[in-house]
Homo-oligomer: 203 residues x 3
């Protein structure tokens, strides 16, 4: 499978998912149309932007203008729904899909641009979690979506599986699928069973 | 007109205007001399820095050391005035001029470095609003200057006019003037008539 | 002395010192293992990352994977200690060493990559203070470590001495030592004698 195409398709899917969740949270917080579009853009585009800049590349949205369409459609859907009910299970699922997709696309992008093993693993993580982090900071929310340790751990696991598989010569299409499933699985299980990482001094 | 020179002159004017407003707000918030210089530098230099990095270029202040003079003079003027009265109409006007100037220089810079249409429009916006956003976050203020939707809308309009005009082959000097006036006009009108973008669920 | 090697050794020492302080503060704030590792990484790696990106270079941790070892060892030491007592004199000293080391390595790195005088001075400052600033913002602390004006002034002094000495043709090994001592000295003296920069309007 063409790796550049794989990254592009995954980026568009991830952009749409993150923009939809971001627009929804912004609408819930009572922001106006401009604020909703701003949060949707930050939530969906900042992860790839940061990842690319760290690798000395231009952001995805400078390279591919069609990514703006993913954001615009997500914003229009949110405005058309005119709802302000709390973010629910559907948004949570979308968010998980976005995280899975961006962990894989980030790790692949880093490998394509010559990042060594560990750096590629962490660039996959950074590409996946940056958008949600900035979104929550800007919207000043701390909700279900912000099980940060769960998000970090699951994206790190998926990115690690992808980079490891790639270094072992695995088929990139199958590897992308498996790594994405690892992200989804770790996140879903940790939410269901309320897994947490331990803290220092509290036993 | 030489485009590189146009961008440089506009950047210096915008740097001075933003540094003066930033230093004034920092002084009003009771920061010491170091904090005032820091806020003035962030307010005036971060927009161009972010814009250039997104295009794979070094920040303006790494390329042109004389930009520091713009910041230093603005800080010295602020310290010499020794006043701590609230930021008034004059600072608001300076801020608007800075926004107009930076929207145009950002859009022109993006086009010069090969950004496509939509990316250039948004890079003009980013170059103009980043400094004020960081300034307000760091100073923890939410004053007259922070009609964010107004700022965003007016800079976006000016940047859009510039990029559109450029793609139609308009003279860049005249185009810079017209686009800057669009920013000033949209901002002044929206302040005078208290225009706001609508919100979801509130009709 | 090989300048590239000098920057690398200083970066590793600074990374370890900042990671240890960051991990300790995160543990004190009750963050879990993931949060401690995250804060340690941000505190120790973001300064060099920002510095390098501003110069159009990849971050140190993309270029040199062994920097992760510095962070990992600092985190493991923190977890093994299992203590949550407030950050004391030892961490403050470590922080000062990290600041001294990073001011020098940042200024040297900027000069190596063609930054002019003033830009190199400020890049030394940025490389030294960014990590601590982000660490404190993310941990929401405002403790002894956050004598920001002191930190800024001392790093600026050290960076200025380094860049000035380099432009005068001084030996880089000796210059690194002298500049580092300037940072330590200015910081220690300002803490001991409670030096502060003046504020506007308060006399």
């Amino acid at each position: 499978m063409d790796l550049e195409l794989l990254v592009n398709i995954l980026d568009l899917a991830g952009t749409f998912a993150f923009a939809l969740v971001g627009a929804r949270i912004a609408a819930d917080k009572g922001l106006d149309y401009g604020g909703i579009a701003f949060i949707a853009a930050v939530a969906s585009l900042s992860g790839g932007t940061f990842r690319n800049i760290l690798l000395g590349q231009r952001p995805p949205w400078v390279l591919y203008s069609w990514l703006f369409a993913g954001v615009a459609i997500a914003v229009l859907i949110t405005l058309a729904m005119k709802r302000t009910t709390p973010v629910g299970r559907f948004a949570l699922t979308l968010d998980t899909i976005g995280l899975a997709v961006c962990s894989v696309s980030g790790a692949q992008f880093a490998l394509t641009h010559g990042a060594p093993f560990l750096a590629a693993v962490f660039l996959g993580l950074i590409g996946a979690v940056t958008g949600g982090l900035l979104r929550d900071v800007l919207c000043q929310v701390e909700p279900v979506l912000l099980h940060r340790e769960t998000i970090g751990t699951s994206c790190l696991a998926g990115s690690f599986v992808y980079v490891t598989g790639d270094s072992l010569g695995a088929n990139s299409g199958i590897l992308a699928l498996v790594s994405g499933l690892v992200v989804v699985l770790v996140r879903e299980l940790s939410i269901r069973f309320d897994w947490h990482l331990p803290k220092v001094g509290i036993r």
